[in-house]
């Protein structure tokens, strides 16, 4: 998908979990991505974060860090 669309979707998810305490939110976003995003989508966000992650919510970046080693 277009990078801006991917960023929008990831930020929406981060936006929801931002309502939770910071220490839970990152892993909650990671769990959500793992549960619902197909591997191509995950790969895309991994690569996007590797390339700087412009425009991505901090929680989404944090989620990628949690998710990548899984």
């Amino acid at each position: 998908m277009k990078p801006e669309q991917m960023v929008h979707m990831a930020n929406q998810i981060a936006g929801y979990f931002a309502g939770y305490p910071r220490e839970e939110a990152g892993s909650a976003v990671a769990d959500h991505l793992e549960k619902f995003w197909e591997r191509r989508m995950l790969q895309q966000i991994f690569e996007y974060v590797d390339a700087g992650g412009a425009g991505l919510d901090e929680l989404a970046v944090e989620a990628v860090a949690v998710l990548k080693p899984r």
């Binding site: 669309q5 929406q12 309502g19 793992e34 619902f36 591997r39 191509r40």
Partner: protein
């Protein structure tokens, strides 16, 4: 065999006290309040009747059901006289016989004596009663004043009204009032001049919604289906389930051989109790429409004309193309879409084929674009992805909240049940940008209509919950006993914050804080409160958040787990619930179990003799994105028309056009078929066995009444494709598919065709704990254990109005058409709605120089289309509305790619648009017409 239900004459009464009486010497015991007529029928004694029928309150006008009661003077009507303890009733005597014969003489003296050529011949209560009372002559002759030359009203496309045959029993008028709740009919005139009137110049011009309740109630041929007039009475009937909305009405398909004569609502149907709407009752002609595609077709490129081939060649070609694509682009380059219009069994085999034969989890269903947020939201809070109540629960509701739903148009039969409860005194809160019919209609007035701005649902529900929490209206004991304490504590702290107060959000949501507070107080303190909601909740960027918000509100007020309460999605299509239950989502097996659950996956692996993937597949919008990106090349679409129904049409069609093999299985050459390489003819609900699961989790049988017109039922086609892919699935009948579902799905463990036949229908969960099913869920505790309050921060959608696009478009459907219109456009329903129109508030119209009926451009950042304007004060200023029933309108050319954060359910309900008068159709529409012609050519074999 014709199935004939017993007519008990008057409705059943529910009472703790029983009374015992004697009728014709036989002892009978009935609940207090039961009529003598009904008590007699309970005892096997038929009392003649004409104006009585058991879905209407007794009326006492026909004077045929007179009886004698020991110790009482006169001959009271048995329909209006309640049975009392110790009564001794006589239903037959020379006196009664004489009186009844006298009444029949009067009726027949003003009735055409054309029984042999009458459409009701053999199925006419007047004819039957003449026989029962022994009428042999009419002493008055037939030359007096009469109504025999009264003009027949044939304006309605589905039934006629012949006043010459009317006995003015008022059953039709009462059915319109009591059963349907429309109040379109009345008796006009007095005495001899009394006649049934629809108010307008004829039925078509009236408020009549063509539900057929009057036709069903008519004891003569006065109101008669045109198909019966044309074809005659049926010789056998079969109980089946409607294939339109999620109410899932039970019908009798009345047949002559393999031909449907009429569809009549089945009185024992537990979802509809003998009622119907115009679609289920009359709009079934599409099933045998000349547009049905009955021969498989293939083509190498979508620019080529279609070539008709055998089933073997079509299936073989599809399989070889899928195999070629996977060999070239990888295992994940293909996927499938199941349909909420197909049966449970059909969706189950499609998802099995994708997971087992395609070898990936790229399976999704059209619920993606409607109720997927329901799944997420209710699973997170309650622990299962389904509505909490049966429909009958509404009969015990004291407060009814309707949010983002328009039941009188989209779920008409349930709306009638709801309206009946409202007429009995239940309070009503409507939360909807439009003034839907429920807000104000005959004998109904909502206590509150909160006309919120589209996109602000979550702020509204949070404000209501804020009032509950800050005004000490919390059901503290319930929450303590039933919900997770830590999650509640966190949520309570969140929701109590001032920014969630009605005063803080009123400017955002467009509803006064006073009304928000009053509505919240009513919901929390008005007794048993039920929430019913539709796509106006789910089809938003915060659709899932809103579902959780409603669940929070219900839990905090103790409104889950008992009759009259609950959180209830009104499902759009017949089998949305079922298609989700059957494992159609890319991340879940049947019964909502994630594919990453090793134990569950191993169970399916063993049952299916194949290794399965534990990572989620692509959802529909993701498939299209991947197609545009070049990594998704093949798609099997059963019974869904994504090119018309899904948002941002240009993106959808770009995705489809980028694929190398699209296989469409459908009744008609739909819009998606324009981008297909293989067309496999579908079978209608009349042509196959199976089950549908309605919005109340009710599993009902779909029964085959005619052979598949193209030779194969849909499930057989999927089996053939799977076999051609090297993965044969061995079922000889859909019942065996359901048996497998039951073996592998704990909530379906007790379901089988035999059990459904025995019980009539079953609401899941059905297992050892609930062998007869579960009408109401979460009774002794939530499915997930403790209910979980979820944080529901309001996050405005990124789809904002601007100077360029200053209005908000919201979309929906209307009574006479259904979704993409593939079915209803191929019926006479077009007489009511032959095009999509744009509803616009008078202020917005005047500001733009738009008059009613003008052609206007509807433009968003995604695209533009043109359609006729309808000026309506149902809209609020700043909001416009249209339907998406006609492909040529291209409503989804305008909608955008924004979607629900959790599920990717499209945000159909909020699109920033501008509207202006134009003189011609949009470029998209002009190109559509041309490309549609080109892509639907069928090669004619000389």
């Amino acid at each position: 065999m014709m199935i004939r239900e017993t007519d008990y004459g008057t409705p059943a009464r529910i009472a703790q006290t029983l009374v015992m009486l004697e009728i014709d010497g036989a002892a009978v015991t009935v609940p207090r309040g039961t009529s003598i007529m009904r008590a007699a029928i309970d005892a096997g004694i038929q009392i003649p009747k004409l104006c009585a029928t058991d879905n209407l309150e007794p009326f006492g006008s026909c004077r045929l059901c007179l009886v004698e009661i020991e110790g009482r003077k006169g001959t009271p009507a048995s329909c209006t006289t309640p049975a009392e303890a110790g009564m001794k009733v006589w239903t037959q005597s020379p006196k009664l016989a004489k009186m009844r014969r006298g009444m029949m003489e009067l009726y027949i003296s003003d009735h055409p004596l054309d029984c042999l050529t009458c459409a009701a011949n053999g199925n006419c209560e007047l004819q039957d009663m003449a026989g029962v009372v022994g009428l042999r002559e009419v002493r008055y002759g037939y030359d007096g004043d009469n109504h025999l030359s009264a003009v027949k009203d044939e304006s309605n496309p589905y039934f006629t009204f012949d006043p010459s045959k009317c006995i003015v029993c008022s059953r039709c008028v009462r059915a319109c009032e009591e059963v349907q709740g429309t109040f379109a009919l009345t008796i006009s005139g007095r005495g001899f001049a009394s006649t049934v009137s629809a108010g307008g110049k004829d039925f078509l011009d009236s408020e009549c919604v063509s539900c057929g309740a009057c036709v069903q109630a008519c004891p003569t041929a006065t109101l008669m289906e045109k198909t019966v007039i044309e074809k005659g009475q049926a010789e056998h009937s079969v109980i089946t389930t409607c294939a339109y909305c999620g109410v899932g009405c039970s019908f009798k398909a009345e047949m002559q051989g393999n031909e449907v004569v009429r569809m009549t609502p089945h009185k024992d149907g537990k979802a509809n109790h003998g009622h119907a709407c115009v679609k289920g009752r009359f709009s079934w002609g599409y099933a045998t429409h000349k547009d049905r595609m009955l021969t498989p077709m293939i083509r190498a490129k979508i620019e080529d004309p279609w070539r008709e081939v055998s089933w073997e060649e079509a299936i073989g070609y599809a399989a070889s193309e899928f195999q070629r694509i996977q060999a070239k682009y990888g295992r994940d380059s293909i996927g499938g879409i199941t349909s909420s219009r197909c049966t449970n069994e059909e969706t189950y085999v499609v998802q099995r084929m994708v997971r087992a034969a395609f070898g990936n989890n790229n399976v999704d269903t059209c619920a993606r674009v409607c109720h997927s947020p329901t799944g997420y939201g209710l699973q997170s809070t309650f622990g299962t992805s389904a509505g909490t109540q049966d429909f009958d629960s509404v009969e015990d509701s004291d407060v009814i909240v309707v949010i983002g739903a328009n039941p009188t148009d989209a779920h008409p039969v349930f709306a009638s049940q709801m309206k009946r409860r409202l007429r009995e005194g239940a309070r009503l809160i409507v939360i909807d940008p439009r003034r839907i019919d429920l807000v104000r209609s005959p004998h109904l007035q909502a206590d509150f209509h909160l006309p919120l701005l589209p996109g602000t649902n979550v702020a509204v529900i949070n404000a209501m919950a804020h009032v509950v929490v800050t005004e000490n209206l919390v059901a503290e004991q319930y929450v303590r006993d039933r919900c997770e304490p830590a999650a509640f504590k966190r949520w309570r702290s969140f929701i109590a914050q001032e920014r969630n107060s009605p005063e803080a959000v009123e400017a955002i949501v467009g509803v006064s804080a006073v009304d928000l507070r009053a509505a919240a107080r009513l919901y929390a303190t008005g007794g048993r409160a039920a929430i019913y909601y539709g796509l106006g909740v789910t089809e938003h960027s915060q659709g899932s958040t809103m579902v959780m918000g409603m669940a929070n509100l219900a839990m905090v007020t103790g409104n889950i787990g008992h009759r009259g309460a609950g959180v209830n999605p009104l499902r759009g299509q017949n089998n949305v619930q079922g298609s989700c239950d059957m494992g159609s989502f890319p991340h879940e097996f049947s019964g909502y179990r994630h594919v990453s659950d090793d134990a569950v996956r191993e169970m399916f692996e063993e049952a299916w003799s194949v290794t399965l993937r534990g990572d989620p597949g692509l959802r529909i919008p993701n498939m299209l994105d991947a197609a545009v990106d070049g990594s998704f090349k093949g798609l099997y679409v059963q019974g869904e028309d994504i090119a018309q129904s899904d948002p941002n049409t240009k993106h959808v069609t770009a995705g489809l056009a980028a694929m190398e093999c699209v296989v469409v299985q459908d009744l008609f050459l739909n819009e998606t078929a324009s981008y297909a390489h293989v067309f496999l003819p579908g079978s209608s609900f009349l042509e196959k066995d199976g089950t549908f699961t309605n919005a109340e989790r009710r599993i009902s049988r779909v029964r085959k009444v005619m052979p598949p017109m193209a030779g194969l039922a849909d499930w057989e086609v999927t089996l053939a494709l799977s076999k051609a892919l090297g993965y044969p699935m061995h079922y000889s009948h859909p019942s065996e598919i359901m048996d497998e579902v039951a073996r592998l799905t704990p909530t379906f463990a007790g379901v089988s065709y035999a059990r459904i036949d025995e019980l009539g229908s079953i609401q899941w969960p059905c297992n050892d704990k609930a062998p007869e099913g579960t009408p109401i869920m979460h009774v002794d505790g939530f499915v997930r254990g403790k209910g979980k309050f979820m944080i529901t921060e309001f996050v405005p959608t990124d789809e904002r109005t601007t100077a360029r696009f200053p209005l908000i478009l919201t979309t929906g459907r209307i009574l006479s058409q259904y979704n993409v219109g593939a079915q209803t456009r191929r019926t006479a329903n077009n007489i009511w709605h032959d095009q999509d129109v744009l509803e616009i508030h008078p202020f917005d119209a005047e500001h733009r120089g738009i008059r009613d009926g003008d052609l206007v451009s509807l433009a968003s950042r995604a695209g533009d289309t043109s359609l006729r304007a309808k000026i309506s004060d149902r809209m609020q200023p700043g909001v416009v509305y249209t339907t998406f029933h006609f492909a040529g309108t291209g409503a989804n050319v305008v909608t955008t790619e924004y979607s629900d954060w959790a599920t990717n359910c499209p945000e159909y309900k909020v699109t920033a648009v501008e509207v202006r008068p134009v003189e011609r159709l949009s470029n998209w529409q002009q190109e559509y017409g041309k490309s549609r012609r080109e892509t639907t050519q069928i090669l004619k074999v000389p």
